[in-house]
């Protein structure tokens, strides 16, 4: 039996989402048929809205509704510190901390020749321009603790340091509230390497 045309088209759309195959798409499509009209309208509108209303901030690269984004516009934030992260998700994690009051810069990736990303493919040129204009005193590099994240951090510090701006890197080591007993050898190694004087 063939699916009615509108159902088939809706299924095709659902199947473009990650993790959804034909069976799930069919279930979702038939469920949609029985949904309240106003719910369906809101669903359709929000789908269009994420595409139409969201953009990347021209200053920091964060995902935003208004350009420049709320964080860049907020004059109460410390304009002299920029925290550099890999993805928009990382900005959200950092904001949850509620302790950081500076600005952000989103790279949208890390340097990785295997995946074909070089220095000009991620949001580095904009960052360098930002540093020339603004009153920035410190750049905190918060890329992930992977080999690629580390290489990206080193690359940035090499570019920025000659300008006299302070460059710092997030600490590695034991996670808060964890027992040494359960930490693996490599984490412990990093924690010992990064120890501080008290």
């Amino acid at each position: 039996m063939h699916y009615p045309e509108p159902i088939a088209q809706l299924m095709e759309s659902y199947m473009k989402l990650p993790g959804i195959g034909e069976k799930t798409a069919a279930r979702l499509a038939f469920y949609t048929v029985n949904m309240q009209e106003e719910d369906v309208t809101r669903f359709a509108k929000s789908l269009i809205s994420v595409k139409r209303d969201l953009q990347y901030c021209s200053i920091c690269g964060n995902m935003t509704q208004n350009d420049p984004c709320d964080i860049c516009e907020d004059k109460n934030r410390d304009q002299s510190v920029i925290l550099v992260v890999e993805h928009t998700k990382d900005v959200i994690s950092m904001e949850k901390m509620q302790d950081y009051k500076g600005l952000y810069h989103v790279l949208h990736g890390v340097l990785s020749p295997i995946e074909g990303t070089g220095p000009e493919d991620i949001n580095i040129p904009v960052l360098i321009k930002r540093l020339q204009k603004d009153e920035v005193k410190e750049v905190i590099i918060a890329t992930n603790a992977t080999a690629e994240g580390e290489a990206t951090a080193m690359y940035l510090s090499r570019l920025i340091k000659p300008s006299g701006i302070k460059v710092t890197r997030l600490a590695h080591g034991l996670s808060v509230g964890s027992d040494i007993e359960y930490a693996d050898e490599v984490t412990l190694l990093k924690a010992v390497e990064g120890r501080r004087e008290m």
Binding site: L111, P113, A147, E148, A151, R158, E185, V186
Partner: protein
């Protein structure tokens, strides 16, 4: 360290088998293609959570079986615990003390084994990659930190090689980024090299007296870690790193042309010298065998030094490859201290008086039975 017993279910040609082992020598006796090596392999799987014969776990599951299960009890000087590996089409589960271990790295190391198979003679004769793999396998089993540095090294090496190849595609190379890749690679490379130097030295310390003994004091064995870079210091990690960086700089043009990293631990080798001559090129067959045997026996002692327990020794079809003198030496040096498993088609070539209190199992077509003594 002892493996007290093992039980198999749906493993290769064993539908079901339960075997209790002797703490000394266990012999699997049988014709070809009956399942001797399968039994041996199952012990290796229990220890390492993978086979030494295949990278495909599915091959271990018996014909028309849904899953294969290998379990056994390990006794150490201080304690004892059960181990279990279950292989199914979906994947594998490793249980230590009945608890599932999410990471294999927390499972491996609870039963230390050393396997000696005819292929191991290639350790001396074969290509450098065989010897590098030998180093990485043995050192990885003893040190999680070495494994970490090795994996990081290989990752960065891959990135760097891809980046160097960009040059050939007429894309520009960013010198700053390349120098960072160099630094990262040299830092991990220095860790790998320093560990390898010290491991080879310690291995040599144990292998020398063994080799002298087998050759009746006629031969002196020297192990040399032959690095692709020239080094001023073999101990100081900072110096090794500096040396590596100098090599990258010197070879920069050639590496860009060829799109690959020409020097470093991934190009190194171990050289074996007997009485000053390189055994690989100038040694007789016999000398090559003695060298391989000395290195393997040294590994047993080194493992005891590093972990505090003797490993379990698996000898797959090697007795037939060794002459009387070497057989005698091998069996004498393990007697009463290392639990040993060996496979053979016949006991005729083996001196009876050497097999001290052996437990003999006959293997016929996937059935294993203990022979009455």
């Amino acid at each position: 360290m002892l493996l007290k017993d093992i039980s198999l279910k749906g493993y290769r040609n064993y539908e079901k088998a339960v075997v209790t082992f002797s703490k000394n020598i266990n012999v699997f006796l049988g014709e070809n293609a009956q399942g001797k090596t399968n039994m041996m392999e199952s012990i290796y799987v229990l220890a390492m959570a993978r086979s030494h014969r295949t990278a495909n776990d599915k091959e271990l599951i018996g014909w028309e079986q849904d899953f294969a299960k290998v379990s056994g009890n390990v006794i150490t000087e201080k304690t004892s615990y059960p181990l279990e590996i279950v292989l199914s089409k979906k994947g594998k589960k490793a249980r230590l003390n009945h608890l599932e271990q999410k990471k294999l790295s927390t499972y491996i190391g609870h039963l230390n084994v050393i396997l000696f198979a005819p292929e191991d003679l290639a350790l001396v004769k074969g290509s450098p990659s065989v010897r590098r793999k030998f180093l990485d396998m043995e050192m990885g089993q003893m040190s999680a930190i070495y494994l970490y540095h090795l994996v990081e090294y290989q990752k960065i090496l891959k990135q760097r090689n891809v980046y160097l190849k960009q040059n050939r595609k007429n894309k520009k190379i960013d010198k700053t980024y390349l120098s960072i890749l160099n630094e990262q690679l040299a830092a991990e490379g220095a860790e790998v090299l320093a560990e390898r130097f010290s491991f080879v030295k310690r291995l040599e310390k144990w292998a020398q007296p063994i080799h002298a003994d087998i050759s009746q004091e006629k031969e002196e064995l020297i192990l040399d870690y032959a690095s692709s870079i020239t080094l001023q210091s073999k101990k100081d990690k900072d110096m090794i790193m500096k040396n590596l960086l100098e090599h990258y700089e010197k070879n920069e043009r050639r590496e860009m042309e060829q799109g690959t990293t020409l020097t470093g631990p991934h190009r190194d080798d171990i050289k074996f010298f007997v009485n000053g001559k390189n055994v690989q090129t100038y040694g007789s067959q016999g000398q090559q065998r003695t060298t391989a045997l000395s290195v393997k026996l040294a590994e047993i002692e080194l493992m005891k030094e590093m972990t505090g327990e003797y490993p379990v020794l698996l000898l797959d079809d090697v007795l037939s490859e060794l002459d009387d003198d070497r057989q005698t030496h091998l069996l004498k040096s393990i007697q009463d201290k290392v639990q040993t498993f060996l496979t053979t088609t016949s006991l005729d070539g083996v001196k009876k008086e050497l097999l001290h209190d052996p437990r003999i199992f006959t293997v016929i077509n996937g059935q294993i039975e203990m022979e009455s003594e």
